[in-house]
Subunit: 147 residues, 2 copies
DNA sequence: TTGTATTTTAGAACTATTCTGACTTAAGAG
DNA sequence: CTCTTAAGTCAGAATAGTTCTAAAATACAA
């Protein structure tokens, strides 16, 4: 989670053949500087909080462009909710089914999961574990008490 | 994947406090008798192929009722596509990114995945692995040939 | 600078899902 | 069986998330 400078962000965009517009930059920068996985709605509100930066349509366009070059990806964990993530390295997700909190699980947490346990004929090239459970804030004070 | 008799299906519905209507029965029966995970659209078409059985609204209603009592669950693997699955036992999914084919991976395929590799504070109670790759039909004849 | 292909944008259009409200029905009680 | 009624069905309206349109603005190579 090293913070990138503006120049580095611009460099990345150009490296992938994208023109650097203020809107596109803002969307990507915002995604890079957060650990959660915001929805379009959240991006729209936050980017335009201190004055207008980007329209909704442009956020959709920017995300699509960023996605096409592989700088951003979607995260699908809840019904009808599409989230975006600038961490395109393989990693897993944890979702608290009490408060909805979502966080990354490092790739190394689960090792050797998909060795060769698949049926013959299937050729895997990527996998991802989604863990559902309860996060810190949603846990009862004394876990050993039966309720 | 043992096929259930009509009586067994009715029994299950009643057991979960659901009235047995022709539409609800048809939706659940259809889901039970297939291994893929259809969308509402697919259900609508197939159920009404040999004469009208259920309206779209009722399919949504039925799926919601079935979901509320835990007989059916959603499968979210692609953007904007919600699929339904009558296999509510924990299992994993494989998705071919070439043809979109989706199939179940038995629960036992990956064991001990989420032992205690999570950071302290997170309490897992369920997890699921999604494997992306290429299925039989989408593989080149001679895999060792570089293309 | 300038020229041009790309991008932005408001609003229209589209699509998946839920809601509404009148009609119908499953199934327990008598 | 028949009655009763809470629950279910359904067409069409409403809503929400996303994409499209086409006109104005702009990044950036020359």
């Amino acid at each position: 989670m090293t913070t990138l400078s503006a120049n580095e962000i611009v460099g990345r965009l150009k490296l992938h053949g994208l023109r650097v517009t203020p809107q596109r930059f803002a969307v990507y920068e915002n995604l890079l500087n957060r650990i959660d996985h915001p929805t379009v709605e959240q991006l729209l509100v936050e980017l335009n909080q201190a004055g207008p930066v980007s329209s909704q349509a442009t956020i959709y366009n920017s995300l699509q462009a960023l996605r096409e070059v592989g700088l951003v990806r979607q995260v699908l964990l809840e019904e009808g909710v599409v989230r975006y993530d600038a961490n395109v390295d393989p990693h897993h997700h944890f979702r608290c089914h009490s408060c909805g909190h979502i966080e990354d699980i490092p790739w190394e947490a689960f090792h050797e999961v998909v060795q060769s346990s698949l049926r013959p004929g299937l050729r895997p090239d990527r996998y991802e574990v989604t863990v559902m459970g309860t996060c810190d804030r949603c846990q009862p004070p004394e876990p050993q008490d039966a309720v």
